[in-house]
């Protein structure tokens, strides 16, 4: 067991899967050089064919991923930033996200679209958005956003081995995050959340960077005698509903925290599910904490203010506990 960065864990997962299966290849923009270092070194070991730089043509590259996956390959398509997936929307929504079903099960699509997602780099609106909620609306697409080095490695390996299209969202702000990563091989099942902190008073559910903000909030609230359970869903679709409902049965209170927007967003989906299926467990109304409904501003101060902060999360927890009068 060694402490490794989130990016190093991504890199290890790619090395291991490419060594394991010759049908795994990496295609995308600047994958040889590895802009975020996640793909660095792969070209040296696997060569031009398996680490394939492409033109900046997200639509065609995303489509090529579909065609390659439908004909026997297991491509990892690196499209760099979550927002760049917008350029590839047609091929993801109309082809990857429907092909197997639309053609009556004639094919399977072992296909991973990998991007950086979310805020934290003061990169402005075009490089800082959280795009997961759009893909959660595509019935046959799996959506993953890990929060730790351990999770990113185990889930990326599982995503590459999965026979369905996966949107794999590495969090932009977490690349340098360090954590324990086992030396021996492991996989994390897609769709399985994890309790990152056990607690009894309130359930806080999140993914990605928000898991860390939620943990910070929980630490702060501990001083007030509030015991918070923090769930990291890890996979946004299919999401671990059972884990959440089980936790709410214990705590009776639910706060959904998401870096995406509130309208039709992940937090709203979780909150609605809890309100619908665990109504009688609830001691207080559910609460959502999401990014403000504006584009992501550039200024570090403003960017920070747009996404949920540990303080806002703590405040939401106090609200559902009735220890704070809502403003």
């Amino acid at each position: 067991m060694a402490r490794k960065t989130y990016i190093a864990a991504i890199n290890e997962a790619l090395f291991e899967e490419m060594r394991r299966d010759p049908m795994v290849l990496l295609i995308g923009e600047d994958v040889r050089i590895g802009v975020f270092a996640g793909t660095r070194g792969l070209h040296k070991e696997f060569g031009d064919k398996r680490v394939l730089d492409t033109p900046i043509s997200e639509l065609a590259v995303a489509g090529a991923g579909v065609g390659a996956a439908a004909t026997g390959l297991r491509p990892v398509v690196d499209l760099m930033f979550g927002t760049f997936l917008y350029l590839a929307f047609d091929q993801i929504a109309n082809q990857a996200g429907a092909m197997r079903y639309m053609f009556g099960g004639q094919t399977r699509l072992p296909l991973v679209y990998m991007v950086q997602n979310g805020t934290g780099a003061s990169a402005g609106h075009h490089h800082s958005q959280s795009v997961h909620q759009f893909f959660m609306n595509m019935p046959l697409i799996k959506v993953i956003m890990p929060a730790t080095p351990y999770d990113v490695k185990g889930l990326l390996k599982a995503a590459i081995r999965d026979d369905n299209p996966v949107i794999f969202l590495n969090h932009l702000a977490l690349g340098g995050q360090r954590g324990e990563v086992p030396d021996e091989e492991y996989l994390i099942p897609i769709g399985q959340g994890e309790i990152k902190r056990s607690g009894s008073h309130v359930t806080v559910c999140s993914v990605g960077l928000m898991v860390h903000h939620s943990l910070k909030a929980a630490k702060e609230l501990e001083k007030e005698g509030i015991d918070v359970e923090v769930i990291d869903l890890r996979t946004l679709k299919p999401w671990d509903e059972a884990l959440v409902l089980h936790s709410v049965a214990k705590t009776g209170r639910f706060v959904a925290v998401d870096e995406g927007h509130m309208v039709c967003g992940a937090a709203s989906e979780w909150a609605a599910t809890v309100a619908e299926k665990a109504f009688h467990d609830l001691k207080a109304p559910v609460k959502r904490v999401t990014s403000k409904p504006v584009p992501i501003p550039f200024s570090p101060k403003l960017e920070k203010a747009v996404v949920p902060s540990p303080e806002e999360i703590a405040d939401a927890v106090r609200q559902v506990l009735g220890t704070r009068v809502p403003a």
Binding site: S57, A62, G67, N94, M102, F103, L140, D162
Partner: protein
């Protein structure tokens, strides 16, 4: 007609593929007019020489992607009448178990990777299939069929650039029927020959008379050979005509508005590819007319049998809406 030295066997192969498409499509038009088919239907009548000429140059293990006007491509590649007709009726025995319909027929066993309801949606997928063949080191090739309308989509330019840069075995076949839906191509682009655009990607751009199967076939065969030998893509522009409109029943939803000049409709009739090849075969004395008549009767009988098969096939079970989702 092109004077040809092709063996009679090949000419008969071309004629058979075309006549199969013609008789099938005539029946589909009739069924649609009778209100027997749900959804939208776009007939391939008038364009048969393109699909037949290109697919006659392919092997069973080569790939094609198609368009919203895709019945002809499925048939030309060797598709099954029964499963096609059943799909058009939305039946369980259809190619896609009733989940695809007219614009989403696929047959992966013969390399037909799917028709596509999005203009330009198949070019990326075909490029990916070409990439797959190249990666696996086979000499398979991949063909993207698309219309003149798709040549104005970003996906066309991205796919041609990607495929030519990587020298992939992809043949881009533009069926220029001179109308994008109801808008003349000359109102949608500042050039008359789409093949000119090949120069922008450093690949051959070839123009053929798309109503002359004896011209399409050798041009396609040359492009296929080039791709098989690793020399990369070709843009093949086949100038052709739709005998009918964009979609069956369009007069009703266009409220009687006319968009084609009578002389154009006459020109399309005068260059009917099936009649042209039939005339050539008879005039050259290649095949005795009674044999052609028997062939026609056989095909017509198969179409009728397909309608019977479709009509007597069960509708899909409601429970099947949850089948063919995730693997």
């Amino acid at each position: 007609m092109t004077v040809t030295h092709l063996p009679t066997e090949k000419i008969l192969d071309l004629y058979t593929r075309m006549l199969r498409i013609r008789r099938f499509e005539e029946m589909v038009g009739k069924l649609f007019a009778q209100g027997q088919l749900p959804g939208f239907v776009h007939l391939y009548i008038g364009e048969e020489a393109v699909g037949a000429g290109v697919c006659a140059a392919l092997r069973d293990d080569d790939y094609i992607t198609s368009t919203h006007r895709g019945h002809g491509h499925v048939i030309a590649k060797g598709g099954d009448f029964n499963r096609m007709m059943a799909e058009l009726f939305g039946r369980q025995t259809g190619y896609c178990k009733g989940k695809g319909g007219s614009m989403h027929i696929a047959d992966f066993e013969i390399g037909m990777l799917g028709a596509c309801g999005i203009v330009g949606g198949g070019l990326g997928v075909a490029t990916g299939a070409g990439l797959s063949a190249w990666y696996r080191g086979t000499d398979q090739v991949s063909v993207a069929f698309f219309g003149d309308g798709a040549a104005n989509e970003g996906s066309f330019h991205e796919a041609l650039n990607l495929a030519s840069t990587l020298k992939l075995p992809v043949i881009f076949v533009c069926e220029n029927n001179q109308y994008g839906e109801f808008t003349p191509a000359i109102h949608a682009m500042n050039i008359t020959d789409i093949a000119q655009r090949a120069a922008g990607y450093g690949i051959p751009g070839v123009i053929v008379d798309g109503t002359d199967a004896l011209a399409v076939y050798p041009a396609a065969a040359a492009a296929v050979q080039r791709a098989r030998q690793g020399h990369g893509p070709t843009l093949l522009e086949a100038k052709t005509h739709r005998r009918g409109g964009h979609a069956e029943g369009e007069i009703a939803f266009l409220a009687g508005q006319d968009y084609r000049l009578p002389e154009e409709v006459q020109a399309a009739a005068a260059s009917d590819p099936v009649i042209r090849l039939h005339t050539y075969i008879v005039e050259q004395g290649l095949i005795p007319p009674p044999q052609l008549e028997t062939l026609d009767q056989d095909i017509t009988g198969s179409v009728a049998a397909a309608v019977e098969f479709a009509r007597t096939s069960p509708e899909p079970e409601i429970a099947s809406i949850y089948e063919d989702t995730w693997v």
